[in-house]
Symmetry: C2
Subunit: 209 residues, 2 copies
């Protein structure tokens, strides 16, 4: 019914935001909403909202608005949030530690089952009840455990090599915080979070006259 393959990446990138707003509506007991009211809250045009949501079938009815529960559940499914994911972190520096502590991931169904680092100081310690393994143990860990997503928070010098190990080990997606573009097969999904790139876009904005 829902033809997910035809949805553009721009729309996909907006979906988590819809999901967030719809979740807040539900938490406040709101079960239906007009595109106009959603537009006001989300600060995007009502026509953009209608266009986006039309991609997923007809959740809006003239004179009624959107059924918040149906829409929320459908977006949840499309984003794959009706499943659980096994995650590992490669690189337990400050950022890796911060991500491992992020309480929301667990609530969304993303569960950490392994933590890996390269420094002798970290390896062997316990972090969030998980023993920190050495990156050199990754291969055997991946052979024994099904890992859906690897969070890559290693320096870029080691990130490329480790990404190959992750690919060979059958990891399905890499959440890449290393400031380098990974060259891996299309079959493995990569979502980049390049923090310095984001900061540069902000500094551009400060100078844009």
């Amino acid at each position: 019914m829902v033809e997910e393959n035809k949805i553009s990446i721009a729309v996909i990138k907006r979906l988590p935001r819809y999901y967030r707003y719809l979740g807040e509506l539900l938490a406040n007991g709101v079960t239906r909403i007009s595109s106009k009211e959603l537009s006001r809250r989300m600060n995007i045009t009502a026509s953009q909202i209608r266009q986006d949501l039309n991609n997923f079938g007809c959740f809006g009815q003239q004179g009624y608005g959107y059924n918040v529960v149906l829409l929320y559940e459908e977006i949840k499914k499309i984003l794959g949030l009706d499943k659980n994911y096994n995650m590992i972190i490669c690189g337990l520096g400050n950022l890796g530690k911060a991500l491992s502590n992020y309480y929301k991931f667990d609530r969304l169904g993303f569960n950490f089952i392994g933590l890996f680092d390269i420094s002798q100081e970290m390896v062997g310690t316990t972090w969030n009840n998980i023993r920190v393994g050495c990156v050199s143990e990754l291969e055997s860990f991946l052979a024994e455990n099904e890992v859906d997503i690897a969070v890559l928070t290693l320096p870029k010098t080691s990130a490329c090599k480790v990404s190959q190990t992750l690919v060979n080990g059958g990891v399905k997606g890499i959440w890449n915080f290393s400031n380098v573009d990974l060259h891996i097969p299309d079959s493995v999904r990569v979502e980049n979070v390049h923090l310095t790139d984001s900061l540069m876009v902000l500094s551009y904005g400060l100078n844009e006259g």
Copy 2:
């Protein structure tokens, strides 16, 4: 000469990546490069590269390619990286701590001059040689110090209120890691890093048939 205002946000978002690749070329002593070779390295089409870079004047010459130094310096200027910025962090949880330790920011000209938190445990401690202040001290700090960029790593419950204090205090840009959309005047730039949104886009990808 360069008409920055006409450059689309999509191009701007690609600039840091060009800057990164050009920097690596320079570090390797490469002073000129064809769009074809840059295309191969960056994994985007040569025509996209020519189109993007044409926005900033003619750095490419038929049969010569791009002058890497000139292009690098121009992009640096466009991104505002030829200046220094005073930054503060509001929210010294794990993520705030990780960002405060990120060595690259300093090298790019982004300098932390203040750190603020709400928890009694953090306030008064010293972190990276800076005394951690209480968020309630923000107003007076902003009155005495020129702050270009505030990093917002507070929970969303307090992020909205603090963003108002930042705006009133004359902060020019907010780098927002709180999982909430800020409603502030257009005169203050906001760059959002919604981590859970990014993870959801990845989980979408894992399920995309």
